[in-house]
Symmetry: C2
Subunit: 320 residues, 2 copies
């Protein structure tokens, strides 16, 4: 990886990609939103409004990246599922893709989502589970992927599409599941949750970042699920968080009604990631949650996370 450009570098997933990218790439160029306070070592920082095609073209012409890690998208917890901004992010991604190919780019890796799949499937497998997004967010991610795939195939461009499931970890948006429960409990507040019987695939954000950088370095082409491959009940996740926070009595499972319109099971088939990409997570769920609660213990008062990364979270109202 000679020269990488990462978008959404200040987001939840993006900021965790920077350390592994520095290991993997000769030069790391990071696009952040205009006015973003985000700073990090070892990267060339570029402020750009990616929703403006002219700024996209200027940025790409200046950097001339060989590799692109495109994570920027609308991510406001709860709102992103229906945000009309999803449509603009399709346009932005396409302008970025055009500029990247026009300036000699070699490999494009983007962040997809489990929201592209038909949620009735439960276990989602690339190239097998039907793509039938239930949300505008999922439809926009899938539509962008379809154009990326067709253009890449035609032009011989390398590409991969990491379909993200459920992430947690340091710098998570405070309104997302693990962050909101951990922060409430660490502050001595009760944490009202749904019954939490739905099972999900949780992955520590730093592990997801490692998977994306592996996709960028590798040569595997196409969609690849980025998950743990393990289905865990949301109730079990927040119980573990409550134990780690030392406040199990403050957890209020069932204080909120069960979520509507959400599937009982949503888990990644990770055979492509494991066997073709050759990548596995570095942390178990227990280790990851312990690390995360410890991080919130030392950062509890600060509103970290900003607008988060480019990833779907568990809806806050569906928490626990």
């Amino acid at each position: 990886v000679r020269r990488v450009l990462i978008t959404g570098a200040g987001g939840f997933l993006g900021r965790h990609c920077l350390a592994p990218l520095r290991e993997a790439a000769g030069e790391v160029h990071a696009a952040v939103r205009p006015g973003s306070p985000f700073q990090a070592e070892g990267m060339v920082r570029h402020e750009a409004d990616l929703l403006d095609p002219a700024q996209v073209e200027r940025l790409v012409a200046r950097v001339r990246p060989t590799h692109l890690l495109h994570l920027a998208w609308t991510t406001e917890p709860g709102a992103f599922w229906r945000d009309a901004g999803n449509v603009r992010w399709v346009e932005a991604g396409l302008a970025l893709l055009r500029a990247f190919t026009a300036h000699g780019g070699l490999r494009f890796v983007g962040a997809g989502s489990c929201a592209e799949y038909d949620w009735a499937a439960g276990v989602c497998r690339e190239g097998d589970t039907p793509l039938r997004p239930a949300t505008l967010y999922g439809a926009c991610k899938n539509a962008f992927r379809e154009v990326l795939e067709a253009l890449a195939r035609q032009q011989g461009l390398g590409w991969a599409w990491g379909r993200v499931f459920f992430l947690y970890g340091p710098h998570e948006h405070p309104r997302r599941l693990v962050a909101s429960v951990a922060r409430a409990l660490l502050a001595g507040q009760p944490a009202p949750c749904t019954p939490g019987t739905q099972e999900r695939d949780f992955l520590h954000v730093a592990d997801a970042a490692g998977a994306f950088v592996a996709l960028l370095r590798g040569e595997v082409c196409g969609p690849v699920n980025v998950g743990s491959g393990q289905a865990v009940a949301v109730a079990d996740v927040v119980r573990r968080v409550a134990d780690l926070a030392g406040a199990p009595a403050l957890l209020r499972l069932g204080a909120l009604p069960p979520p509507t319109g959400e599937p009982p099971l949503l888990v990644a088939d990770v055979r492509r990631l494991t066997h073709e990409v050759g990548w596995t997570p570095h942390r178990s769920l227990d280790e990851g949650l312990a690390e995360t609660v410890a991080w919130w213990r030392s950062h509890g008062g600060r509103e970290e996370g900003g607008r988060g990364g480019s990833l779907p979270g568990v809806r806050a109202r569906a928490a626990g």
Copy 2:
């Protein structure tokens, strides 16, 4: 239909829509490319570069259409299948869609294509035949449709998506099948063709225009095939053209090699168009071809058609 904006109004399909639109709509606003010589009675003409989102926004804000008939796309015969401009037309369509909904639009009708379907199917039926585009063009059309569908569903916007099969008729681009054969024969030149065993669904462009205006007036939601429902061998079509041109001896079936990568059969299932939209073609193939050859007889020397409409033709090299 109170106030319609039609894009691609000067194109092959677009210009045939204007007469039925004048019947159907209180006001007809037509977007044409900057510098286009195209003029017609009974419409308000707007020059706009739809690839520029700022011009799209200004146009829609000025017109405030209640109904949109979006036909503009890249259509250069032969080249459009792989044209990187397809990606820009997705962006343009999305910007148009955003502006339309932002300014109170009620119903959006766009031109899709049989190229969205899995061509292995032969007979293509909406909601049944898998969508598996073999080309960048088909992928871009389908990707745009996916975003349109999701946004329309979420916002309660009316929408329809006319999947066009194979058109012919007056003002066809001179390099497309029927036009190229008719013009050559009428000029006393030989018309070299492939063996022409492949079967296709041919529809007179004025009938296709009528179908689109019916989609715009109606309330049927979703994709609707726009075809005749009849599979005809390409050889039979050009033989009929040759007879009508009075030059059967100049037709050279088999002088070109059979096309590669094209399916033997591609025909529309028109049950939705017939029974749900309640629309049927006004001309038989024989009548349509007779009308078309007569038109070319009187327009033979002129390069009509320009860049054509928004539709896939039979590739010139696959002709006959």
